[in-house]
């Protein structure tokens, strides 16, 4: 498959000694990328690997002769498909972009114009560059949609970006990039924002079009497993400097550079947790007990249930000192569950107790002690930390509010607890890195001396290495402080490494509830299995294997479905469904390993 070792024609892309600089406000110019050089041969796919801030996206954009506001290409030579990109005047650059070289952005939801139908945008490059008439472009777009297995390819173009899922948009964006048949396509972290299950569909689509269209590619990512599936060669960037370059196999199997090794280590699953021996059968009162929680919207129907359900009869006991994991894809209701527990999402029926006392649905009605002992750490540290308040002030306020001493030493202690230097107290959130922000976010929760911390996808927005460090920190804190955690994620790796027990949510239903020890042992709910399989692995043929497995199942349907009718919520996507799945609510039974599974099939069937 890989073509290294063979004598190659001159490279299609050649970057020599690229210098990119940027400035903030009226500050001094600082280098973003310093002396980067690499070549990409025709029809080759090069991976640009690096953390956020490594300059990988800037390099990718520079290939198109584009620098973001405040940045500029300060030096070096870029040749793409015979064009000298750094020398081209604006008009020529315009006819080059979108026609010779195309770009697939990380967040398709944001990169599509929300006010225009998708088809107009997909065929726009073709019309802009007068590559083909409109009707032909539409036909080609539909062809590409089909190629990438988009549902209803004939009509999907009439829709608007917010109506489609991230995975679908990412494929549409690929179609948009390919509409003019460009020689070079740049993939900028195209699957980072997607669920693992969706990522598979998208990656497969990319592979298919690459096979059919045969373009040269640059794939920007921080995910080595994805690199393994997609790229022929890889360049590892850190702080704007190339650390290592080689074939994908080389980089993955025998990384030479320390940084590459660290990346690889972070990508490898590891168990950080010494499982707490907590059970819900004992005499210990659960710190948090969610019972038959129903959350919905659109008013209540005649049966007392909401017209549209987000959570259906979810129960979840959390023991003191335990780490409870909740996993599921976007839209499964896991964030809603967290919000309900946090008191910012009213519920229809069911109840929540905290340390034996009922929690009021509204935060205002809860006692000061309950508010204090139940802390939420939200996904996006950018939003959680007040950008106008220094780190010290943020922590100080929590301390004074709860009547604790709020001196510098205490703040230093809190920062130390999350492994941050106390000098950071005077900094403001915009000056911090993503990992630092998330640590401050944790410190803020810890400042209240909580009994239970709700963690809502706290690592989702972070780079692999940083996320791993946060997970390490969590476990250390768990050991040191003995507090309970409710850990919500879509990342099975993370879940495995920190949790004691796991609840699997699908479409608002708890389909499985299992001790982490049982996760490695069959049987499991078919959806749990699917989640397991979707975690990318670092072998090159993993994607092929998963796809061949999946082809046995049926076309997936959007996850968020109404659960009003009877039957199993997963029936539509289940590869092993039987007739009864469509009509009857599945029973809950306990597997030999201790997992509570909600399925019509028996333990033997699922094993």
């Amino acid at each position: 498959m890989a073509r290294h070792g063979i004598m190659q024609p001159p490279p299609l892309i050649s970057v020599q000694n690229l210098q990119l600089t940027g400035r903030r406000g009226r500050g001094l110019e600082t280098p973003i990328v310093d002396g980067v050089s690499f070549d990409v041969a025709e029809k080759e796919m090069l991976a640009l690997i690096g953390e956020s801030g490594s300059g990988k996206t800037s390099v990718a954009l520079a290939l198109m002769g584009y620098a973001r506001r405040g940045c500029r290409i300060a030096g070096g030579k870029i040749r793409v498909a015979g064009y000298d990109v750094t020398e081209m005047p604006p008009a020529e650059l315009r006819s080059f972009r979108g026609k010779t070289i195309a770009y697939i952005a990380q967040n398709a939801g944001a990169a599509f114009n929300p006010a225009l139908p998708l088809m107009d945008q997909v065929i726009e490059p073709a019309l802009l560059h007068h590559v083909m008439p409109r009707q032909v472009a539409i036909e080609r777009a539909i062809f590409l949609f089909e190629l990438m297995a988009l549902p209803s390819p004939g009509t999907i173009g009439a829709r608007y970006s917010h109506e489609l899922s991230g995975g679908q948009l990412q494929r549409l964006m690929a179609a948009m990039a390919l509409i003019t048949g460009p020689e070079v396509v740049i993939f900028d972290e195209p699957t980072t924002a997607l669920d693992v299950t969706t990522q598979i569909e998208v990656l497969e689509a990319f592979r298919t079009v690459r096979r059919e269209e045969g373009f040269t590619g640059v794939y920007v990512t921080h995910d080595l497993a994805v690199v393994a599936q997609m790229a022929d060669r890889a360049v590892v960037l850190k702080n704007g400097v190339v650390q290592e370059e080689g074939t994908t196999e080389q980089i993955l199997s025998a990384p030479r550079h320390a940084y590459t090794q660290a990346l690889l280590a972070a990508n490898t699953p590891q168990v950080r947790n010494a499982p707490t021996q907590a059970t819900d059968s004992g005499t210990v009162v659960p710190v948090l007990d969610v019972r038959d929680l129903v959350v919905g919207y659109g008013g209540t129907g005649p049966d007392g249930r909401p017209r549209h359900t987000i959570l259906s009869d979810v129960s979840l006991p959390v023991m003191p000192g335990e780490t409870m994991g909740i996993i599921g894809e976007s839209g499964c209701g896991k964030s809603t569950l967290i919000r309900a527990i946090a008191g910012i999402q009213p519920w229809t029926s069911g109840g929540i107790t905290f340390e034996g006392e009922a929690l009021a649905p509204r935060i205002e009605a809860r006692s000061a002690a309950q508010r204090r002992h139940l802390q939420l750490v939200a996904q996006n540290a950018d939003l959680v930390l007040n950008p106008a308040m220094s780190v010290g002030d943020t922590l100080r306020r929590v301390l004074t509010f709860n009547g604790d001493a709020a001196n510098g030493a205490e703040i230093g202690r809190l920062l130390d607890m999350v492994r941050l230097p106390s000098a950071l107290a005077d900094r403001f959130p915009p000056e911090l890195s993503g990992g630092q922000k998330q640590r401050v976010n944790l410190a803020r929760a810890l400042a209240a001396r909580p009994r239970l911390v709700l963690c809502d996808e706290i690592t989702a927005a972070l780079d692999t290495v940083v996320a791993a460090a946060i997970l390490d920190l969590m476990m250390e804190l768990k050991r040191e402080l003995g507090i309970a955690w409710l850990f919500v994620t879509h990342d099975l790796h993370a879940l495995r490494s920190v949790c004691d027990r796991v609840a699997v949510l699908y479409a608002g239903h708890r389909v499985e509830f299992t001790p982490i020890s049982a996760l490695e042992e069959a049987p499991h709910h078919p959806y749990t299995r699917r989640l397991e399989n979707s975690v990318p692995e670092m072998r090159a043929d993993w994607l092929t294997d998963v796809i061949s497995l999946r082809d046995q199942g049926s076309e997936p349907v959007p996850a968020l479905s109404s659960s009003r009718g009877a039957g199993c919520c997963y029936a539509a996507r289940c590869p092993v469904r039987i007739a009864i799945c469509e009509v009857a609510t599945p029973p809950v039974w306990r597997s030999p390993a201790g997992a509570l599974i909600s399925c019509h099939l028996t333990s033997q069937d699922l094993s």
Partner: protein, 320 residues
């Protein structure tokens, strides 16, 4: 189906909210005018306002009744669609106000036709070339124009173009307009003066809206597709900023009906703003009321329209 129902509900809510404001203004204006010193009897008699003359006239106009009773009488009339008659001229106030309103709408319309494109153009170009010399120059210029009192702008314009150069008429009397040429000549100075007032704010707000949009990912994407700046603005940005821009425009236009007393007075233009100033001076309460209602309704109509545009532009995408 449900989308349409939701849309209609949202529209009804908007309209209902406007009605609340309208009722608030009606009640407030009535009672505020009630605390004004003197009434129409005083105003009509002026120097001849001897106590017996005033009280007789007051009695005949029902002004000696308690304010609440007068309010009830007025509201009752209103509910029957009767806005009342002017206490001064005894003509129906609706006819008086609507005659002036037409003039005002004409002036406002022409001003909008001229000012809105200029403001959008200035704001957009300033956003595209932000933090450049051009941007700063536009900002300085618009601020300067907004800050100079409009009576000075208007008077200076008249003195230069009418008195010194004899190019344009000094007055914008509606009755003198017989052709397109005389229309343009009569309107050019009032319209320019008014445009000076509103272009400043509109262009500044447009610039802010545009900068917001230009920073979005989809604009970057369009650049990377090889689209030209004009194509990006027209094809991509405009459809997205229609709603906020309409809001900007609505706020500015609402000023053009009621906020133009000075321009009306300098150019002797018979608009509704001067009618209301007159009616306040004459304490002609029914007329004050209908003018206030018209201003309020116009403002609410424009802002509600802007809200509806916002609703529809998001609805269009949601409903598809």
């Amino acid at each position: 189906m449900t989308m349409n129902a939701a849309l209609i509900r949202a529209l009804l809510r908007l309209v209902g909210a406007s009605l609340v404001s309208l009722v608030f203004v009606t009640v407030a204006v009535f009672f505020i005018t009630a605390v004004l010193p003197g009434d129409v009897a005083d105003a009509l008699l002026g120097q001849a306002a001897t106590p017996d003359a005033v009280s007789a006239l007051r009695h005949s106009l029902n002004l000696d009744k308690p304010v609440l009773v007068r309010f009830v009488i007025w509201v009752t009339g209103l509910l029957h669609g009767d806005f009342g008659v002017s206490l001064v001229s005894h003509r129906p106030v609706l006819a008086m106000a609507s005659e002036r309103l037409i003039h005002s709408l004409l002036l406002a319309g022409v001003t909008a036709l001229f000012a809105v494109p200029v403001a959008l153009l200035l704001g957009t170009t300033a956003a595209i070339f932000r933090n450049t010399l051009f941007d700063r120059a536009v900002s300085l210029l618009t601020l300067c124009i907004v800050s100079v009192p409009e009576f000075l702008v208007a008077t200076l314009a008249v003195f230069i173009f009418s008195v010194q150069l004899h190019l344009l008429p000094a007055l914008a009397s509606i009755s003198d307009i017989h052709s397109i040429g005389s229309f343009l000549a009569s309107f050019s100075m009032p319209v320019t003066t008014l445009a000076c007032v509103i272009v400043g704010q509109m262009s500044r707000m447009t610039r802010a809206v545009m900068i917001d949009a230009l920073g979005s990912s989809w604009v970057e994407m369009a650049v990377l597709k090889g689209a030209s700046p004009a194509h990006i603005i027209l094809r991509h940005v405009i459809p997205n900023v229609i709603a906020p821009l309409f809001n900007v425009i609505a706020l500015s236009l609402s000023y053009l009906l009621g906020g133009v007393v000075i321009v009306e007075s300098v150019f002797h233009y018979p608009g509704i703003a001067s009618l209301m100033v007159d009616s306040v001076a004459a304490r002609d309460i029914p007329l004050v009321q209908i003018c206030a209602l018209i201003f309020c309704a116009a403002y609410l109509f424009l802002t509600t329209l802007a809200d509806i545009v916002a609703l529809l532009s998001s609805q269009r995408r949601h409903a598809a």
